[in-house]
Subunit: 185 residues, 2 copies
């Protein structure tokens, strides 16, 4: 909690759990605003997540899959939800193996980001690796995805053209581009 004091905090006066599910819960909180008025906050409690920028020399690994929430196929960097018994780094290594069939000798932590703090606490930890080795691909039974490997510079262009529309992919790719431009990779 921030040290700025209580004056701008929204105090919860009532909390109603609407739904408890597999990857998320929904609750509606009645809060008291700093002006003593009341408002409702619709909040999605979501599992923590990881996302990975994986480079093989000049190429990046993406996965293309159908996402029911947007009723369309979308290109994303490898990602997944942190299981209850895992640390984010373990999740990252597991998802690399499951989604693209590679292991990493050195996985660099980049940063954490809240997906959309106006309504959800979903937080994604970002990792980077360009030190990889081929393993055996053992996908999750319920995941149907296509691995797409392409030049890193092409993905940057695809943000400009609107072909890449996934936030974690845009963040991960632009951050790694910054590292490259700074000579950190």
């Amino acid at each position: 909690m921030d040290q700025r004091g209580d004056q701008s905090i929204e105090k919860t006066v009532k909390s109603e759990m609407i739904y408890e599910g597999r990857i998320l819960n929904l609750r509606v909180e009645t809060v008291e605003l700093p002006n003593q008025k009341y408002s409702k906050r619709e909040i999605v409690d979501h599992s923590k997540a990881v996302a990975l920028v994986v480079l093989d020399k000049e190429e990046i690994f993406l996965v293309r899959q159908y996402r029911k929430a947007i009723d369309d196929f979308i290109l994303e960097i490898p990602a997944g939800l942190v299981e209850s018994n895992e640390q984010p780094r373990e999740t990252a290594l597991r998802e690399m193996q499951e989604e693209i069939g590679y292991g990493s000798n050195h996985l660099e932590y980049l940063f954490d980001a809240y997906s959309s703090p106006g309504f959800t606490n979903e937080k994604t930890s970002f990792f980077f690796t360009n030190d990889i080795y081929e393993g055996k691909k053992e996908g999750d039974d319920d995941e149907f995805l296509e691995i797409v490997k392409m030049p890193f510079e092409r993905v940057i262009e695809m943000i400009d053209t609107g072909e890449i529309t996934d936030s974690k992919t845009i963040m991960g790719v632009l951050y790694v581009k910054k590292m490259m431009d700074n000579g950190q990779i």
Copy 2:
């Protein structure tokens, strides 16, 4: 819809509306997977949003506010939800006025991004402006935020240090940095 054909699409066999709210709805869909097994998808239908990178010479405008979903204060670029009668560009201009008290003579559209397509269709349209004029600040009654103006280069550092953790802020700022590096600004 993508042209790749039906073979990887998840067909909805049952859809249950759990909650219909102010900024979001929650529905749970039972889907048939490509392997003929069934699974549940927890889906948050969310209002469209906008986010803006607003520069005043070398400085960027951020807003600092309490977000109930993460129970903390967070620094963000100006943003807001698209009302039913609005185009994203109108929302962007309205939010600029409401949140930081500025108008813009030229607002450049950057890109659209899905916040977290694994569970929500929330999509944010990003805009940029460095052509601004001071207006009268007329904030939303229910918003309590502090305007924070700081050197653009400082925000980049704050992504590295973990002081900036909001996805739309990271995306907007890194994208505009790329434009600067390419001489587009």
